[in-house]
Amino acid sequence: MVQNIIDVKNLSKSFDISSKEPGLKGTIKHFFRRQTKSLKVIKNISFEIKKGEIVGFLGANGAGKTTILKMLCGLIYPSEGSILVSGHLPFRRKENFLKNITLIMGQKQQLIWDLPPIESFYLNASIYDLDKFEAKKRIQKLSEMLEIDEELFIPVRKLSLGQRMKSELLAALIHEPNILFLDEPTLGLDINAQRKLRKFLQKYNRETNATICLTSHYMKDITSLCKRVICVHEGAISYDGKLDLLLKKLSPVKEILIVCRSEDDATKLENYGFTVKNKIKNEITIKIENNSITSSLKTILNNFDIEDLFINEPPIDEVIGKVLIKKDYDI
């Protein structure tokens, strides 16, 4: 049985927020009688993550995904509840714990701006007590995996966003962490750079059995990396389970575009009893429930003269979008 590497129980986090009315009057009032209120951004959540799992955290802006990641890596202190990551209380930031984790936040960089990335890599290697020989070996291995070479010797400020992001990843992984917290790692990258980064993360997970917790607004990141997702809605977990189960639940019906040989066939099909979305001449679009796709298609192919047929999956963004605005999904 695979052990849990992350164990979260009844976790909550509140922030004190002060609000200010506009204008000079508001500023003066804010200066002398500041009004603050406690805002509970994470509400009593519990979940477990097993070693080697890649879990995607989904949620609208401000839902609390990043706050959860920040608490998991020990960056911020929880208000209530307990977190155990790799047997450690993260907020204590013990050396053994910190040497096992990494956090990458899209566009927030730890590389030294005016120096080539290689300098930051060796600096990080020293921070993590790696000797120069081991550091060189790891830099070589990771730079091959990330397909960066000459960029290592060019000042960071002169690198493109994609090159910088790869260098950030290398800097964050030089100590070979077991747990990766990735907060929108593909933010701002072009399609090819995103694809390469995803490929790299898959390979890293496969080769090191590292656990990856990921937030992203790019659904492709989630669908290609995560088998399991945790959906966060207004600080609470609205769904925790397999991604494909969620997708099936949210889109129980598929649309099938059927091109008939004649318009007559299309008319007959229209009246056969299927739910018809639309019909244009000899082309008809019908909706069929996922669990009766095979039998329905058999019926259509046996009874009608069909020229062509297309099964349309609903766009994943649209499906996931439904999760982001709903409080609870009981699968």
Binding site: F15, K70, C73, G74, L75, I76, Y77, F91, R93, E95, L98, K99, I101, T102, L103, M105, K108, Q109, Q110, D114, N124, I127, Y128, A172
Partner: protein
Amino acid sequence: MLEYRVEIALWAISGIIPFFMLNIWTNNNLNESINISDVMLSRYFLCAFFVRQFSVVWVVFSFEEDSLMGKVSPYLIQPLNPFFRYFAQHLAEQITRFPFALIIAFFFFIFNPESIWIPNLGILLLAIVSTFLSFLIQFLIQSIVACLCFWTEKASSIERLLFIPTLFLSGLLAPVVSFPEYVKSWLYLTPFPYLIDFPANLLSGNETNISGGLSMQILWIFLLFPLFKKIWSEGTKKYTAMGS
């Protein structure tokens, strides 16, 4: 790279306030009132310039900016206190300042040839130690103020409050010996005279209590370090990782 060289030179030149003060003192014969010769006063302000060059601290501004921009977050999850980074940055900059400070000293001696002197090796070493201790005190004071970022977001405003007494009481504008007796009696209990006045007097060969000065510097470091650790530990619990 030219921009960086110019920037470093400007840093060094920006610390020439002791030379302006020297000018004010000598033109008004103010040194006569405290029984210091022109030559010794020139040496004092040159040494004050050197001590300032190698003890100036700006960690509060760097930390505040990094904290507000969310850059502190990646540092916080590394097994090294982020202040070590700032400490290393300061040391690196001190090394780069050294040649420029020497050039300025060279020109100072051209215009004041009577001030040329060579301190003996023992005094020079003690002055280097004392300047480093002065740097440590200032670094710890500013780091404590920087940690207030966890509560106030604008800790540099508090640093401004400290800047005024530092400027007037450290010996940068006037040797502490020129202050009235009752001011001196309590001033020597604060860390301020040990930031510039003590190391500058030591290096320039003015009469000073070497063991007493060094002891006070060490004492202040022992007092400030645990305070910094406590504020750091409490502050990180308040950290909200804003900007990231």
